[in-house]
Symmetry: C2
Subunit: 331 residues, 2 copies
């Protein structure tokens, strides 16, 4: 994050350049709009160039942004974002241990509803049930959303399923790939993982203080960069399609799609999300093995999810049990 008044001006200049990236923007115009000297504008432009932004400077015409450093930056994320609250406030870190841990901390300190914590490089990512998820610098998406829904606490786990639906939709819209959801929240393509989702809740007695949803998405990792032992388990959109995607646009599409589904969920409940989730579910009808947090293992047929988003498992004797949180496997 960039701090202080000078940092704020630099961010505003970058935002103006982004929004006018087809034409030149005069130093005069920038200095008038932001109420700072032309020398200050020039100094900030130099700093942005040092950070890797390619900014053309032509006398009498002004400045024009021709390329941004690879990876994400705050201006690219916020410029043109069409959401009401999700991602309206962005905490961007070039490098961070874990966006989820930082988001939980910020949520605890009162961060506003919709705050997005996002980074170019996550060094110590947190995964569901303690699993880890690595993310290279400027290549993939690692982010966490802080949401403050007015919901009974027992309905918050449904937001995990909602997030999985949003991820599958955005991948389909952007890449044309049709992925599957493995209950509750892994996104797979031909059996290999592309997206991991982690939902955490902070509550005070019955009152939901915050739901923090972390998303790790393998976007631009090259096929050759995957370590040998992961090649059969994980993949990236780029490894599958050969295309390198614009990360900022990807994030924006996700936030917009997520917000639409989230509003629908808050208004109509999980029943509005359930058919969308089922449409992409790949574990239904399969013979699965369920490994629960305490270590208990169940086997049976995955019947589907009930109206609360809970997995229904039928064992060999026909007895149906509800599975709230677990890892599932099948052969």
């Amino acid at each position: 994050m960039v701090h202080g008044l000078a940092g704020k001006t630099k961010k505003s200049i970058l935002k103006m350049l982004y929004e006018n990236r087809d034409s030149f923007l005069s130093g005069q115009k920038i200095s008038e709009t932001l109420g700072c000297s032309r020398t200050a504008v020039w100094k900030h432009i130099r700093e942005l160039q040092d950070q890797g932004f390619l900014i053309e400077a032509v006398q009498k015409s002004g400045y024009r942004l021709t390329a941004a450093p690879s990876g994400l930056n705050e201006a690219a994320l916020s410029s043109g974002l069409e959401t009401k609250s999700v991602g309206r406030h962005i905490c961007f870190y070039d490098t961070i241990g874990s966006t989820q841990k930082e988001a939980l901390r910020l949520a605890d300190e009162g961060a506003e509803d919709g705050t997005l914590v996002i980074t170019n490089q996550q060094i110590a990512g947190r995964g569901r049930l303690g699993h880890t998820w690595q993310s290279e610098r400027g290549v993939n998406i690692a982010m966490s959303m802080i949401l403050r829904p007015s919901l009974p606490i027992e309905k918050t786990p449904q937001m995990t399923l909602l997030t999985a639906v949003a991820a599958v939709k955005v991948i389909e819209d952007t890449t044309g790939l049709s992925c599957g959801i493995k209950w509750p929240n892994d996104i797979l393509y031909e059996g290999r993982k592309l997206v991991g989702i982690l939902t955490e809740l902070q509550a005070e007695a019955t009152f939901v203080k915050a739901v923090v949803i972390g998303i790790g998405m393998n976007v631009n990792t090259e096929e050759s960069s995957f370590p040998e032992e992961l090649k059969s388990k994980a993949s990236s959109l780029r490894a599958i399609t050969g295309v390198k995607y614009n990360l900022a646009e990807f994030v924006q599409s996700f936030l917009q799609t997520f917000e639409r589904l989230y509003e629908l969920f808050l208004e109509e409940g999980f029943s509005a999300i359930k058919p969308l989730w089922e449409m992409h579910a790949i574990s239904l009808g399969k013979q699965i093995r369920v490994r629960q947090p305490g270590g208990k293992v169940l086997e049976g047929t995955a019947l589907g999810i009930n109206d609360e988003g809970v997995l229904l498992l039928k064992d060999g004797k026909g007895h149906v049990s509800r599975v709230y949180s677990a890892d599932i496997e099948w052969s």
Copy 2:
């Protein structure tokens, strides 16, 4: 907290002195038991004396603890504690901003089930729905328990009611005072507050990671120490009975009582706790005003709690609504 090997030895010496406080303990015995030199024993005793412990040293007899500094210390809290898990691991701080905040942090870092965070002085206490609760140095109880129950998340708010029952029982056993519980968790005596309870939940989707219960109890505050504006709203056990209580014993009794009720709750569910709660409830049957977190205000008659611990409110038209989290008032 005391850190390192030397700190551990000092804690062990203090524990030995506590357990033998009726007789002298020779330096030889201490050095043999703990595997350190007699000079080291002598050095640690000097440090304990500097911290305010009155330790008699008599040649050929050894050391004897005659008085501890006022307030709490780790040895006094752990010596003789009869619990299985609650308070078996103690994080003691002479001064801390908030035991609840520290406990949430420790819970997040993996602190074990039953961990107790406790202090002699809480500088920035957290209260339910953002209220604050002040605690003077060495005079009152401010502590937070980290619990990791295997429970569906929607049942965790019932632990607030369970904690209130434990507090009322301990106060009655120790002081003979019969207090009332104002839903969900304030403990009052003649309309003035003695205890505040705050339950917070950390969950990952449907899986409860930790329930952190904070308890602030006005034990030894003198009547004259209450600020004028609080005298009608808050009191302390000492202000009512004139007796100064042993804080460490009070905490131990609480932990023991709490653990018994908690085990009962885990085995038999809230139905085993409900009648105990109702026996002490003072809001039942009253005309009350309910202020919800969003600012919404309801009025009606408090009918009681249902089997889930949720307050039932009957309005003027006879319609019964469920109140999950709110502040209640009556005239």
